[in-house]
Structures are given as structure tokens and as C-alpha cells.
Symmetry: C2
Subunit: 208 residues, 2 copies
């Protein structure tokens, strides 16, 4: 039986913060109505030997899996300062973030983090080690953060209003766009340049 895999987020937003408690848990899977292979209707079913409900085609039986997505980001450093981008897009327009975005097919995590930095900050980087991993459970996302060396100049890309270098005591902590990025920055500075392994964090909506 042919199968495919779909991701859940109803809107393509990385850096998604957990919704307020009490919000309906609609992001765990996204709705679909028709099979993308035969255009027949689909239904939610738990198949024999499976532990989860899936979208299954009522016609051809195709299973449309939905699984978490990967966001890759990095902290570009040069001369003790790090690069941040002021977002020119929603969500969190006008807030600061490390360069990051959805990993694409055909690239490694390091290539993805470098590509996002080129797109958002017109900056080339050399990716170092992974230092933070954040499970953004209710958004169906995993955010992976890497150290990086900034190799040259920078400038705002299409998705950025400004790009600036900050020392640790200049970081605009109250204006950081996303919980995951704030966590990563905190851990980045705590590490003081050492590879202390991956700091793992879980973001989940408070139960109500």
C-alpha cells in the first residue's frame, strides 16, 4: 500500500509559541478532505498494528501520515558579538530572532541553517556544533540550533527589517521573537563557546 507523510501545522509558521491554555488542540494534526493521489475522500482511522489515528483514503487506501517538522537555526558569531535579525514578516513582525527556518528536502541540517542565514541576513557562515534542541510539541515542530562563525558582511534579507551584531549585554531579551530562540540564546551564552552537548527543552501548552 502506498503511503505518504504530511505535516500538521495549519499555517507554515516556525517559531510558533504554544497557544494560550484552553485553546483547542487543533494543531496536533491538520485537516484534509481528499486523497492527494486519487481525489477520493479520506477518513481518520487507526489501522491494525498501528498506535495512532491516520488519514486513510476511502478509495485507494493510501495512508497520509502527518509528522513533526524541523526548523534549523544558528547563532552567527564574530569578535564576541552575535548576529540577530529583526523580523519583517509575521508572526512577530518587528521582533528579533536568530536566523532560522524550515529545513528543506535535499539539504543537511547545517546546509539549511546556513541557507536561512544567507536568506535572512545576506551572510555566509560556517556551521559549528548543535547546542540546543527545542520540542515545540503543540506546533508539531523540532527546533535545532547550531553555533556558527560569521564569515563576512551582512545586510537585511527580504524577511528582515534590520540585521545587527550584539554583545551579550546588548541582547534585546524583551524583544526576542520566540520562546525557542530565547532559550537557545540563553544556553548559547551559558556555554561560553564550549561544546557542552545539546541542551534539550520542551515547550508545551500549560494544561487547563
Amino acid at each position: 500500500m502506498p503511503v505518504s507523510i504530511q505535516n500538521p501545522v495549519s499555517e507554515r509558521k516556525w517559531g510558533f509559541d504554544p497557544p494560550p491554555s484552553g485553546t483547542k488542540s487543533s494543531l496536533r494534526h491538520h485537516k484534509m478532505k481528499y486523497c492527494s493521489f486519487c481525489a477520493q475522500t479520506v477518513s481518520r482511522k487507526t489501522l491494525d498494528g498501528d498506535t495512532h489515528q491516520r488519514w486513510v483514503c476511502d478509495g485507494c487506501g493510501h495512508i497520509h501520515y502527518q509528522n513533526p517538522l524541523i526548523v534549523v537555526g544558528c547563532v552567527p558569531e564574530k569578535d564576541g558579538k552575535i548576529l540577530l535579525c529583526k523580523r519583517a514578516i509575521e508572526p512577530r513582525y518587528g521582533y528579533w530572532t536568530v536566523p532560522a527556518g524550515f529545513m528543506e528536502l535535499g539539504e543537511s541540517q547545517a546546509q539549511g541553517a546556513a541557507r536561512e542565514t544567507l536568506e535572512e541576513a545576506c551572510a555566509e557562515v560556517q556551521i559549528g556544533h548543535m547546542f540546543a534542541s527545542v520540542d515545540v510539541v503543540d506546533a508539531g515542530q523540532v527546533h535545532l540550533f547550531f553555533t556558527a562563525k560569521l564569515l563576512g558582511d551582512f545586510a537585511p534579507g527580504d524577511e528582515s527589517l534590520e540585521v545587527e551584531m550584539f554583545s551579550e549585554d546588548e541582547i534585546p531579551w524583551d524583544d526576542i521573537a520566540f520562546h525557542s530562540g530565547r532559550y537557545a540564546l540563553k544556553k548559547y551564552f551559558e556555554d561560553e563557546g564550549e561544546n557542552n552537548g545539546v541542551h534539550i527543552h520542551e515547550l508545551r501548552r500549560a494544561k487547563s
Copy 2:
């Protein structure tokens, strides 16, 4: 405009090894014919402001993104030996693997790795630190491996023929199911129980 995200692999197989060189690169995205929201046909298009081709609905304009998937696994350890499972399913029926599988919505990476261990080896584990990350680029997958403490008994789950504990010199290196798992096991033993950060590896088909 509503968007959804689909994963590329045409068959739901983790542990996918790179196809032989010369094989067509059909796994970078998977085919779809119809929009899962309105059942109209879809076409490959590069939209304004985007860097990649996507499946876009010819009717409602919905963008069907396809992105890499996450496989989570762990190396359950007790008294200096580690647990491996002999696969009862294809691919690699009869070969040995660490417990691992596709991460599901609604769980953290650690929960996913623990769930897979329970399913494949009927074993409870306490997940430790992430120690290996393998980009399986041509399969559109990222394999993340964690250390783990085996907490009790074990037995073959539905997907395993056997489950056994191995010391380092007993590991059946020639019968390990997947490149990513073999890499993870090598690094696991090199670390000798220390957290030396995440060992990063990239698997890509040889160019021909």
C-alpha cells in the same frame, strides 16, 4: 492562503540507506496529483519570494510543502551492555538495529525514542542526552540518537524477531541494519559514556 506540509518519502521506511549511484533522485519530493483540501489538480511551481518548487493547487492555490522527517532512536544501556533488536519487518528483515522510528505529533523527541523502545523491545527506558545526528539527505530524513538507561525487562515487540543485550565486542557489526544506526553505535562506544556533544554525519548518494 492556507498551506500544508507533506513529506517526501514514497514509502514510509526509516533507516533508508542512500540508493545506488545512478538511481533517479525521485525521493527528494513525492508525487501528488490532487489537492487534499479541494480535490483539484496540483502543479509544481516556484512562487514569488520562494526559493523552491512546491506543489500548488490549480484551484484554491493551497501550497503543499514537503519537508524532511525526523527519526528518533536510542541506545538502551544496562550493566555495560546495550540493547539491540533483530528486525521482523522490511527493510532489513533479520538485521539488528537500535530501537528507533518516526517521531509522532504530540510527543517530544525523548518521548518518541522511549515509545519506539517500548514498541520494539517491550522495554522502559530513561532517555539521556542526544549524541548523534545523521542527515539522510536523499531519503529526506534526519535521524537523532539518544543515550538511554534500560530500566527493567525486555522482550521482542511485534516488529522484532529477537531482542538481546550486547557488550561492545559482541556487536554484530556486519549485521547492523542501517548506516545511520551503525554510525550512531560507533560514536556511542567512542564516547565511553561521556557527553561529547552531538556527532554529526551526512549520508548522501555518491554522485555518478
